[in-house]
Point group: C2
Chain length 273, copies 2
């Protein structure tokens, strides 16, 4: 299969078209060149986009694939005429939904990811600020406001997961790093000891952790096989001894880690899909 | 239209099913109760899920709607039999893609959002660490590594945007806050003066900024109408005088801000959809 050009086109940001297209493309082994074209919201932009697609088809000798989330009928009709396989998300699903709900949809662009919901926006910002304020063991006095407190050794994925959970779900996620000192003691570190029910552990394979730490501080004790193995073993023992649920992040994307924690803990999200 | 229950079901995190379902639901004015059910990856979980859907249909007197991203045929066949409107993303689009690409897809679960691409994971983590290290004017000595440096007054949306761009695109985004002192001078603040081509301004309506600041520090000078108006006017004048492109974030979601900046600047993303 030769390399195919794929366009993600949208009258808005293109995030939904990208997500949808990416999910489908990962099912195929081919090589794809992906191009996102956001804000195609009027006929002029639609015509421009078509010309670009047609030029690509001609120069590459095969028609591109278009994943589209174009809600306006007139814009979609223009893009549909381009020399490409055209897969539009609203085309496929709006009709069955309208018939099920027995109403016509609004066909209004920009509703998803818009400011339709200022409350959701505020929740995400507040949760992000919380994650920043309570990152890496800081501001332990604010742990009573946490929905979850991630614990794990340095570079086990705590910070990006907290930020993702804040931005995606509006969840208040703090994180506390297990240091060598913490791991040499038998109990929980003092700052998190009073919050056992909120704790969630992250662990990772020694090989992967060593790789990540080496990138950061090559040839250091911090990145040595021995140190990494000691810390991970001690952290996992601590989780088990204290009954703290934990997750191995080695083969997980940030999305998966966040989703699994939400699912396992039953934390209520403040921002709904 | 009465309140309808909507399930987002997936053999993975459910993020794609949520994105897809949410885009479609925002086209309807009804009220929906949304429930995400991730990790339905085997027949047993599929049967459990069906039972839950059927119980909901019975107790509510109307069938729910299911948005699904179930890649395994056998799992999907089970869920399809539930008493619901079943809209599956792979059902709708895999067949036309297979026929266009003249290959069968792998039908393998967990490819999207998986660790298929460790390089992408690393890029996102590194970009997130960069955004954290260079947040709010810190570590200006690292500005030469920035893809973009956001500038704006306090609470104009800089930090969440930088974190979103890091997580979503792997882009290195720093941010520098325009303080009152900065705004009283005629030129660019010293730390960013050498990086004019990387600067991107954020602004916001005075009403919205006052609301955000009041939530943070009620009755303060910081949140006063006069102060807010002064800062925003001075910041916008600075952007115009220095030829710095800028964006009004008042009616934008974080996704929109990130996407617009990427689009306008032409910055190359390190993580592709």
């Amino acid at each position: 299969m030769s390399r195919r050009t794929v366009f993600f086109v949208s009258d808005q940001t293109g995030v939904t078209a990208e997500t949808m297209g990416h999910s489908l493309l990962t099912q195929f082994d081919g090589h794809f060149r992906t191009i996102t074209v956001p804000f195609v919201a009027n006929l002029e932009r639609a015509e421009e986009f078509c010309a670009r697609v047609n030029a690509t088809a001609e120069s590459e000798g095969q028609r591109p694939i278009i994943f589209s989330t174009l809600i306006k009928d007139d814009v979609r009709e223009v893009v549909k005429r381009a020399n490409a396989l055209f897969l539009d998300f609203f085309d496929a699903f709006l009709a069955p939904l309208e018939s099920e709900l027995k109403v016509k949809s609004s066909h209004a662009a920009g509703r998803a990811h818009g400011m339709a919901d200022i409350a959701a926006y505020t929740a995400r910002i507040n949760a992000t600020n919380y994650a920043l304020a309570c990152d890496d063991g800081t501001n332990a006095r604010d742990y009573d406001r946490a929905d979850v407190i991630l614990v794990g050794v340095s570079r086990s994925g705590k910070t990006p997961t907290c930020l993702y959970m804040a931005l995606q779900y509006g969840v208040y996620a703090a994180n506390y790093p297990l240091t060598e000192d913490d791991l040499e003691q038998s109990g929980l570190p003092a700052p998190v000891a009073g919050f056992r029910a909120k704790l969630y552990g992250l662990t990772i394979s020694p090989e992967r952790l060593q790789q990540i730490r080496t990138e950061r501080r090559p040839e250091s004790r911090y990145a040595s096989a021995q140190q990494v193995a000691f810390e991970l073993r001690a952290a996992e023992r601590l989780f088990e001894r204290m009954g703290i649920p934990f997750l191995d992040t080695t083969d997980c994307s940030i999305e998966e880690i966040g989703s699994r924690i939400l699912h396992k803990t039953g934390i209520e999200r403040r921002v709904h899909a």
